[in-house]
Symmetry: C2
Subunit: 206 residues, 2 copies
């Protein structure tokens, strides 16, 4: 059985990657959506193992020390990370795994899993992104400026991704994300087993 595909969905916050990933689960329920771990406290309605795995700082740090994360980062004094074990398990079982993570984390994954597929989700335009980032209308201009700077840093890494997924509408974006996953499975370099089989059969034929 061939190993599952690791698909990293990333891009600036406000681009809509969370919504796309949720909709993908409806379309491709056989895919495993990885759940991140965090040290921040649960918000009302958030459930252990669904929204996040909620860990103590001590546990999180000891997992870092044991190479227990594929990627991790610290935002606003809270740790966030992708636990390695579950992801490795699912991939080994031939199941495709989706990581929905920040650009910073995606860059860490790329150095460890160069065979993974990297998809950068963008809103139809940067102006649109600006609207999405400022949309709540309650933030200080300085906060908004900070967010935009982060988004622009994120965009500066776009060329390290394999695909650019324009989030013009969720329905269309999900269809195209599914096409990316289907197409990647057919790439020649992912079909070494099949090639070996062909060359084995060759000998019997002439």
């Amino acid at each position: 059985m061939s190993r599952g595909l690791l698909v990293v969905i990333s891009g600036p916050s406000g681009a809509g990657k969370g919504t796309i990933c949720k909709a993908l689960m409806d379309k491709k329920p056989e895919v495993h959506l990885s759940v991140s771990a965090t040290t921040r406290l649960p918000r009302p309605g958030e459930r252990e193992g669904e929204s996040y795995y909620f860990l103590s700082e001590e546990t999180f740090r000891s997992m870092i020390a044991q190479n227990g994360f594929i990627e991790w980062a610290c935002f606003c004094q809270n740790y966030y990370g992708t636990p390695r074990e579950k992801v490795e398990e699912q991939l080994a079982a031939g199941r495709d795994v989706i990581l929905e993570i920040e650009v910073q984390g995606a860059m860490q994954v790329q150095s460890k899993f160069p065979e993974a597929v990297f998809v950068f989700v963008v809103p139809p335009s940067l102006t649109e992104l600006e609207h999405r980032l400022c949309g709540r209308g309650t933030e200080e201009p300085a906060v908004i400026r900070e967010r935009l700077k982060t988004a622009l840093w994120e965009y500066s890494n776009i060329e390290k991704y394999n695909y650019i997924l324009l989030n013009d509408s969720v329905e269309s974006a999900v269809m195209r994300l599914a096409a990316i996953i289907d197409a990647e499975k057919m790439r020649t370099e992912r079909n070494a087993e099949f090639l070996t089989e062909v060359f084995k059969q060759k000998k019997g034929l002439i």
Copy 2:
């Protein structure tokens, strides 16, 4: 407007690439299926400009001399080739172009259009291919052996292709071919224009 995608569908004869390409036209009528030129005589029912462009040997040779073919070859004393002009026209107009050609021709296209997408169509197994090649039951064993040798040479080039498309059923293969085309359009390296636009917009934002 961005340039169309050049998609080369190739693989051993008997793998079913012709059937897949025809079915793709029903699914994606906006795509242009290139018509080959040949010097062989039309068979009953074949129409000029549909099955082939039927050319005299003189015309064909003068087109070769003028670099009028993207790829060409001589089989059984007849010339076959892909006229360049129409393909270039369609690509420039932003329309995707499908070439359904032999492996030998595909290798010529690869050296001239490295940005093209190369899809190798295979039947579910080599044994299956053997059945398809020998299926008519009327050929000499020597002819069949010759065909199998050709097929095996063709397989030996499979690693130069981007995708392996298993023709387990026409319907499923066409769906997956459509996914390849959709996915390729999102590849970062094909979205240089979009990236330029993003970086232009950046300046206005901070």
